[in-house]
């Protein structure tokens, strides 16, 4: 679709070649047709591997201070330098991947789950719809970062509380999406047929509505995952997030805040990792959206 405008023979030959080998394996077809999806998935897989294998990647204990090695610039022995307590930044950043990915994936899962339940109830139980949607409108009107800040001021700092705070802020967008999907599906004749045939409501949701709602929920979940990782970093950075003893990218940047003009590398490496991680999730989301909804290609 994009190579067609380029007259160079080498490039023009590519789509033809791919058409002749059409019955390719699923994986290489995805790579060929949806490059953002493949790039995002690959980057994310690498980052997950880094998080899982953190102890094996030449790291030391990320929380052990070493007073003689304070604020050293990047070098052969300290790849990313050290912070003002002499802790090895390479190890802290690598272990920080665990926190970011845990928060991002957990929030995406929780918000999709809460949002789907609320959206299905709102979309299928008519008398509850107006009330539930007013509550969701109210929750959505609060800027997510501010809602999470209010939540975190009143609870102990912990990873679980950060996940819950962000999940509550992100749930209404899923609820609204699922409700809209249910409302449009409810008008389909096959749903009427299922009701007439005496299918129990739970079975209608499970067998007819859920499979049709999975694609939009999955796309929304990836965007929520990206937003959650940014909100976690913001919360930790301003002191309302993960406990400061846990090396998360937001906490490392908060530690480097006072020294950023003279020791910019303390902030640079966690910032780079956070941006690349969010980028990979966003690419995955864009790719999923295009792959799951061919109509959206080219228009959004």
């Amino acid at each position: 679709m994009s190579a067609a405008s380029t007259p160079a023979p080498g490039i023009a030959a590519a789509p033809v070649a791919s058409e002749t080998q059409q019955p390719k394996s699923g994986l290489s077809r995805i790579v060929h047709r949806y490059p953002p999806l493949a790039l995002g998935a690959t980057l994310l897989a690498v980052l997950m591997a880094i998080a899982a294998l953190a102890p094996l990647l030449g790291t030391v204990d990320p929380s052990v201070p070493s007073p003689i090695n304070r604020t050293l610039p990047p070098s052969a022995s300290f790849w990313f330098g050290t912070d003002m307590l002499g802790r090895d930044l390479y190890s802290r950043v690598i272990y920080g991947a665990r926190v970011s990915l845990t928060v991002g994936l957990s929030v995406a899962l929780l918000a999709s789950l809460f949002g789907s339940i609320i959206g299905f109830v709102s979309g299928s139980v008519r008398w509850s719809d107006a009330f539930i949607m007013r509550v969701m409108d109210g929750l959505m009107a609060i800027p997510p970062v501010l809602l999470a800040i209010a939540f975190m001021t009143l609870t102990r700092a912990s990873i679980a509380n950060v996940i819950l705070a962000i999940a509550i802020a992100e749930t209404p967008s899923v609820a609204r999406l699922v409700r809209a999907t249910v409302l449009s599906l409810r008008e389909q004749p096959y749903i009427d047929a299922a009701i007439v045939a005496g299918t129990p409501p739970a079975m209608i949701i499970w067998r007819h509505l859920l499979p049709n709602a999975v694609a939009p929920i999955a796309v929304q979940a990836t965007y929520i995952c990206a937003a959650a990782m940014i909100i976690e970093a913001v919360l930790s950075f301003i002191g309302a997030g993960i406990p400061s003893v846990i090396p998360s990218w937001g906490n490392i940047m908060a530690d480097g805040r006072a020294l950023w003009q003279v020791k910019p590398y303390i902030i640079f490496f966690p910032a780079l990792f956070l941006s690349v991680t969010v980028l990979s999730v966003n690419l995955l989301g864009d790719g999923l959206r295009d792959a799951l909804d061919p109509r959206a290609t080219g228009t959004l």
Partner: protein, 313 residues
């Protein structure tokens, strides 16, 4: 028309009530004793009791809730448990820098994003379009505070074009005021630009397919007139919608951008309040931020009939 306006205004009342209920109920529904948490680990029982009384936690939920709503209706956001000043006074003192930042960011984002989106749609599929869409993904992925540090490092520390940090009020000179806000506004505005440009492009692409665009071209109108007058005008409803919905992200992002650039606004007030666990102040900021979002969305709802006469009915 009157019915539409009144209907829109009436629809915001339950939303504001729910916002108030959520912000207030957090004190009661979260596990643990908020008074003990706010007082800190070393606090004695008297201090905890004092804070509990100050937050009204020693009185029944419904009674306290109605009192609190009554206070809010009278513009009383409560009293800070750290400074003992009214929260509305503290917010009022910090409003100037934050409003300045939001206004400059908003104007900057709209001025940059709309032409970008128009050109991307006009040359859809070209290298310009692809470059814009690639920059877009980056705008979505680099958080505002990280971009802020990057910009401050390059354009303030290395090149010295702008002040590194700080803020000067407007009455001390326009250029100094603007100079301090350029880098924060670019950092905070990048996400808005990505959002607005993406929606502008999509809306323009839809409309460029319409017959009246072909008619305008056949009539020999200059391409710029077609794009910026005929097409952009008809794309204005989705653009206004995304601009309004982006305000929530903008307000949330202002908190952390002010921290990076040491701007003494509401964001700084919030961060200080977090460190002191000054919940009444946080409550006031969250309430005000949310109401600002609701009112801006209401304003855009009321603008729709002006942008698109078909909505007037």
């Amino acid at each position: 028309m009157i019915v539409y306006v009144l209907g829109r205004i009436a629809a915001t009342i339950p939303v504001m009530a729910v916002v108030g209920l959520v912000v207030f109920s957090l004190l009661y529904v979260l596990p643990g004793d908020p008074a003990a948490l706010i007082a800190g680990d070393q606090a004695n029982p008297e201090a905890i009791a004092h804070i509990r009384h100050g937050l009204g936690l020693d009185r029944p939920f419904l009674l306290r809730l109605t009192e609190w709503f009554w206070q809010i209706l009278h513009g009383d956001l409560g009293t800070s448990i750290f400074t003992n000043l009214p929260v509305s006074t503290m917010i009022g003192q910090r409003l100037g820098p934050t409003l300045s930042l939001l206004a400059v960011t908003f104007v900057f984002a709209v001025i940059v994003a709309i032409p970008i989106g128009v050109v991307a749609a006009w040359r859809a599929g070209s290298w310009i379009d692809r470059a814009v869409m690639a920059l877009n993904v980056i705008g979505f992925s680099v958080p505002a505070f990280i971009l802020g540090y990057l910009l401050a490092y390059v354009f303030a520390l290395q090149l010295g074009w702008f002040p590194v940090q700080g803020y000067t009020p407007l009455d001390q000179g326009f250029w100094s005021w603007l100079g301090h806000l350029v880098l924060p506004a670019v950092a905070l505005g990048s996400l808005q630009i990505a959002l607005i440009a993406r929606v502008t492009r999509a809306a323009m692409l839809d409309i460029l397919q319409q017959d009246y665009v072909r008619a305008a071209r056949a009539k020999g109108l200059p391409e710029s007139t077609i794009l910026f007058v005929h097409v952009l005008k008809n794309a204005s409803v989705p653009i206004a919608t995304v601009v309004a919905s982006g305000i929530a992200v903008l307000i949330g992002g202002a908190v952390v951008t002010e921290t990076v650039f040491a701007i003494p606004g509401i964001g700084r007030l919030t961060v200080d309040a977090i460190l002191r666990r000054d919940y009444p102040t946080i409550q006031g900021v969250v309430l005000l931020g949310s109401f600002a979002c609701i009112l801006i969305n209401l304003l855009v709802d009321l603008l729709y009939p002006l942008l698109d006469p078909r909505i007037r009915r």
